[in-house]
């Protein structure tokens, strides 16, 4: 239990190349851990906006909305997984959808581990020291990107160049999905409007 849920994720973020392979071949990854990481990332984002120190917190407290926070993390997460799956299936990637979700979820762990103490520490910082806050936050972000990169490479058994290409393609496909989604939504709305207008015409003509 402890082995799979705590020790392995922690081992993974420091030894990603070995651990992602273990995750794939030995079936060490747990979906529960991936989703917990996602949930905790969302929590950290909300906590950071609400509780980060005054000197680093430029958020208007009236604009914080947890639902939107959830959406801004969770939607890209699942979009990424879907788009990546779509791209890699065509590009001979070996990863299954489950493995993509696992790799993406596990990559988020450093974000949680860095954000949590930084939120506390930022409350005791003065202006000159806020540089460290921004530094560590960027480290968390680049760590996440690096893990995601290694994760994708290992899960799909790609070369470096191929991984980069697929990741860029994934981003493009994410954009396309969003565009198509908006298009379909708008079309449905217009269709509804059309139907409703016909209904109204009929009602008033009789």
């Amino acid at each position: 239990m402890k082995q799979d849920f705590i020790k392995f994720p922690l081992h993974l973020i420091f030894h990603p190349i070995d651990a992602f392979w273990d995750l794939k071949s030995d079936n060490r990854g747990r979906l529960l851990v991936a989703f917990a990481a996602l949930a905790l990332t969302i929590v950290m984002m909300i906590l950071q906006k609400q509780y980060a120190g005054f000197l680093v917190n430029y958020i208007d407290p009236r604009t914080i909305n947890s639902i939107i926070e959830i959406a801004t993390v969770a939607v890209p997460f699942f979009l990424w997984c879907m788009a990546n799956w779509a791209v890699t299936t065509l590009m001979e990637g070996e990863g299954k959808f489950r493995e993509i979700v696992l790799a993406t979820g596990y990559s988020l762990i450093p974000v949680i581990l860095v954000y949590a103490p930084m939120i506390v520490v930022s409350r005791f910082m003065v202006q000159e020291e806020t540089a460290f806050y921004y530094l560590f936050n960027s480290i968390a972000f680049f760590w996440f990107v690096l893990l995601l990169f290694i994760g994708m490479m290992t899960v799909h058994q790609y070369t470096v160049v191929r991984t980069i290409v697929t990741m860029v393609l994934t981003l493009i496909v994410m954009g396309i999905i969003v565009f198509l989604g908006a298009l379909v939504f708008s079309m449905l709305q217009q269709l509804y409007e059309f139907g409703y207008n016909i209904y109204r015409e009929l009602i008033f003509r009789t």
Partner: protein
């Protein structure tokens, strides 16, 4: 029974109706809505700082109506000079707004001279009247009685072209007699003349705002097309005023500029402090408005404060020396207090005067309790008497709890008194991160000094406990091994 109840209900309704009429609705007596911008750049309603008290027209003074008045100035001794441009005369009022005299011309070389559509005037400490006689292309200097002292005509200088037309619009004079003239069609800056009327040079050129889109477009077009395009020239100044240190405050009406107000030091550099949350440029948000503020006049009020007059929305904005917007008043309209075509702003004692060309009158504004308290507190802060300012800031906060500058003011005073922890709260309310950081640094150091002993004790105790547990664990493990080996 039911009837009595009904009757009582009817009576109650009637009484309540009467009562509603008896109590007047508490409304702002000002014909405009006052507001101030908060940290998030939202216009938050604010109490009125100035209220219109009265208007003064030509008929009120017993003379013919004003015609397109152009400028108003209050001399250091308190006399009010109104430049009635359309009637080519100067009207002098005493501080109580009673008519003293009318100057409609002067004697020059034995003949009577008059003004021709003069644009601006200024009165110095010795009651000398400087008039920018625009139509005649000269600056006329008169003494208090209206006798000519000298005229400043078109300057002879190598840096001026021969076709140059000298048309002074507005002017201001420093305490050694140097004249600063804002002239029509002069993009080089404010023209500076010495006390004998000799042209010295320009001060404070407005920078050209570079528009890169336009720049690329220009590169792509042909010579003929380029010739038809607008030139990139610096904007002209619209008005100038001078503070007691001899720094010239100047406004320009460039709509795209974020620095329409300048404070020019003697070498012509802009040294205006802009430490507020946003640019010093009048309105910073305009959704339904015609656009950014067009600042046409500036008045230095003393103690670092200055007011600017916006011709887009006909409002007056007042700032302190650090560039915080203190309050605004005025607006478009036809009531007393709203303005049609304001042209100049002045200060007479506590009152503010705004000259309205559209209505041909002078509007006198009087500070409210809120406005007076703000002025007082800002003045005390400017003079460094922050401790005295605190009580007034607290009163200001009772009148307007959204007044961020007051929070910062109280915070700074607390900081001075080394009450760092209390100051933190005020700085947070005023969203002043810089001062907050200073206060927090001190507070943190104090806390560390105070609790360092406790902290160290705790750390040592923790280390000891850690070592002991480790020893204990080791010992127990060894016992276990020993037992398995059968030693016990």
């Amino acid at each position: 029974m039911a009837r009595t109840v009904k009757r009582w209900l009817v009576l109650l309704a009637a009484v309540s109706l009467l009562l509603v009429n008896a109590v007047p609705a508490a409304a702002s007596p000002a014909p405009y809505e006052s507001y101030n911008y908060n940290y998030w750049k939202e216009a938050v309603p604010s109490p009125d700082a100035y209220l219109p008290e009265r208007t003064i027209s030509g008929r009120d003074l017993g003379i013919s109506e004003f015609k397109d008045p152009g400028d108003v100035n209050v001399s250091p001794s308190g006399l009010i000079y109104i430049l009635d441009s359309g009637n080519n005369r100067i009207i002098v009022l005493d501080p109580g707004f009673k008519l003293l005299s009318v100057i409609d011309g002067f004697m020059m070389e034995g003949s009577k001279e008059t003004f021709n559509l003069p644009g601006g005037l200024f009165v110095d400490e010795e009651e000398r009247i400087y008039v920018a006689d625009t139509g005649n292309g000269r600056v006329v200097v008169l003494d208090g009685e209206g006798t000519l002292i000298q005229t400043i005509t078109k300057p002879e200088s190598d840096i001026l072209s021969t076709q140059f037309q000298f048309q002074p619009l507005k002017l201001t004079v420093d305490h050694v007699g140097r004249v600063y003239v804002v002239a029509q069609g002069v993009y080089e800056g404010i023209m500076q003349f010495d006390e004998s009327g000799k042209f010295i040079g320009y001060v404070g050129t407005n920078k050209v705002e570079r528009d890169y889109g336009e720049y690329i477009w220009r590169m792509l077009s042909t010579k003929a097309q380029r010739a038809q395009m607008v030139l990139f020239v610096p904007t002209e100044f619209s008005n100038a005023d001078i503070d007691h240190k001899g720094f010239v405050y100047a406004t320009n009406i460039d709509p795209g500029s974020n620095e329409p107000i300048k404070r020019l030091n003697p070498s012509g550099e802009d040294v205006l402090k802009r430490f507020g949350y946003y640019d010093v440029k009048g309105d910073i948000r305009f959704r339904n408005n015609p656009g950014p503020s067009k600042l046409i006049d500036v008045k230095v009020l003393g103690d670092g404060m200055y007011s600017v007059l916006d011709a887009t929305q006909n409002r007056v904005f007042t700032y302190d020396d650090e560039g915080h917007l203190l309050y605004m008043y005025g607006g478009k309209g036809n009531q007393v207090g709203t303005l049609k075509t304001p042209v100049a702003i002045e200060q007479s004692g506590e009152h503010h005067l705004v000259l309205d060309r559209g209505k041909n009158n002078l509007v006198v504004y009087e500070p409210t309790r809120f406005g007076a308290r703000v002025n007082e507190a800002v003045a005390l802060h400017y003079r460094g008497e922050d401790t005295e300012a605190v009580n007034i800031w607290r009163e200001v906060l009772k009148l307007n709890a959204n007044y961020d500058i007051a929070y910062i003011g109280i915070g700074k005073s607390l900081l001075m008194e080394k009450k760092n922890e209390e100051a933190l709260g005020y700085f947070e309310l005023g969203m002043d991160r810089k001062s907050y950081s200073v206060a927090f640094k001190r507070h943190r150091r104090e806390m560390m000094k105070e609790h360092f002993g406790t902290f160290l004790t705790a750390v040592i105790a923790l280390i000891v406990i850690l070592i002991l547990t480790r020893v204990a664990v080791k010992w127990r493990r060894r016992r276990q091994v020993d037992r398995e080996a059968g030693f016990h």
